[in-house]
Symmetry: C2
């Protein structure tokens, strides 16, 4: 029966995902901890690197965090001189957050290191997996993101 098959695969996916998330979180933590920042802080820098300067609210959407959390993480990074705020000339309430030169250097260095890690991981896997992995992960992320939460 197809319902059973789906449940079996859902269960397998559930276990695989929760393990994967734990492993990568832990790995990222261990890599990033050599530097001056935490994972969340690094994520914020990455978003800026990939998408350019943006407003805190926009940043919060990318990071999937509350605006207050985002505001505080940004504040920490301002103090560490990895990002800078500038008032948005088109809206007196808004501001733009962007990488400083320091921040750009740091996030590029960390990204490079993590990409080396991924390459090392891929090297041990068969070619078919190397080819399929990124696309599959993107699909899974997109599918999950489309769904809304339970307790809205």
């Amino acid at each position: 029966m197809s319902k059973d098959r789906l449940r079996k695969q859902g269960t397998a996916l559930y276990h695989a995902l929760s393990h994967l998330v734990r492993v990568y979180q832990s790995r990222d933590r261990e890599h990033i901890c050599c530097y001056d920042i935490s994972i969340t802080q690094c994520n914020l820098l990455e978003v800026l690197l990939d998408h350019g300067a943006m407003r805190p609210l926009n940043l919060a959407q990318h990071l999937m965090l509350d605006k207050s959390t985002t505001s505080r993480v940004a504040e920490t990074l301002v103090k560490k001189n990895y990002v800078a705020r500038t008032p948005d000339p088109t809206d007196g309430r808004a501001q733009l957050i962007d990488l400083t030169e320091n921040g750009r250097e740091l996030v590029l260095k960390i990204r490079d290191e993590l990409i080396e890690e991924e390459m090392a991981i891929l090297r041990d896997l068969p070619k078919s997996v190397q080819d399929e992995a990124p696309g599959l992960l993107i699909r899974l992320a997109k599918a999950a993101q489309k769904r809304t939460s339970c307790c809205g």
Copy 2:
């Protein structure tokens, strides 16, 4: 050139993974927040559900957390009456941590809900992805786990 290809794929994997981790973390947070516990607390309950009673140190390995962190998370769960400690008769220093009936019920309910989520996600994906996803995620997790950290 194969080196270039590997780098391109490593970069793609890097982006896909970091996004996936963020999305699923956020999703789990939103699902679990309806209940009495946090993500880490839920992870701890899950490990006990899957592997049975164990010592704090063993639990820390499964969770990939420091033993002190594990100890405190367990303490919180004892207070909430989801896990219980019993002294290990074979070693006066050790103890065993296990789910209470309450804890078992809670984690089963949450797991069921998340598996339903996974099933809903799978439903929208082609059969080939449904079949391959869990295996691929497991491979990736295993490969990452084999590697050691940078700043040991």
